[in-house]
């Protein structure tokens, strides 16, 4: 049973560029959440996707956008990269329950380390 997978593992970009990160959820999960983790800090919630729609969003600008595909996999896109976007980007998957009201425990992938120069 495959866990959450993310690609690529590492990425180096320059300021102003755009980046796309990918995530495949754990088998049986239908909800994907994205987090940004700066060095030495806890993960910060970016947004969550369920049924191919953004359901919840944290305090991140519109430069951060995402998508969920029919097979539940997801992409995170960041436009106009800033130096401060350098971080570990984590994807977590879970299963919606109670007719979509709440989510079960989130399981994390290994993350994508993004460096913006």
């Amino acid at each position: 049973d495959a866990g959450v997978t993310q690609s690529p593992t590492h990425l180096i970009k320059t300021r102003g560029q755009q980046v796309t990160l990918r995530c495949s959820p754990k088998s049986g999960h239908d909800t994907v959440s994205w987090y940004q983790q700066a060095l030495g800090q806890g993960p910060q919630f970016i947004f969550q996707y369920y049924e191919e729609e953004e359901r919840q969003r944290g305090n991140f600008p519109d430069r951060f956008s995402g998508h969920q595909f029919p097979n539940y996999s997801s992409e995170l896109n960041v436009n106009a990269l800033l130096l401060g976007d350098s971080a570990l980007y984590l994807c977590a998957s879970s299963l919606r329950r109670d007719r979509g009201v709440s989510t079960d425990t989130q399981y994390f992938g290994p993350g994508t380390r993004l460096t913006v120069l």
Binding site: G40, A92, T105, F108, P110
Partner: protein, 111 residues
Amino acid sequence: GESVGLHLPTLSVQEGDNSIINCAYSNSASDYFIWYKQESGKGPQFIIDIRSNMDKRQGQRVTVLLNKTVKHLSLQIAATQPGDSAVYFCAENKVNNDMRFGAGTRLTVKP
């Protein structure tokens, strides 16, 4: 504002001793609380969770205690091993809302 935070940024224990990692939260509307372990270069790994209607939950070598009166959460690790060395995060999850993490506590186990 509402937040989830940890009392101590670092904790050092002797191998074989018990470890206690503490967490304070300020939002009493949380649905449940989760403890994650993160090793260097890896994503957070689920350890144990507890619903807001519970006070205690036990797993394998781990126990989570929830004190809603003082809004305090703790993770107890019995017979700490070198493999337990990592950063531990508490997180709160609210129904239909995002999950909020604390800053983390680094646990170091001395042989």
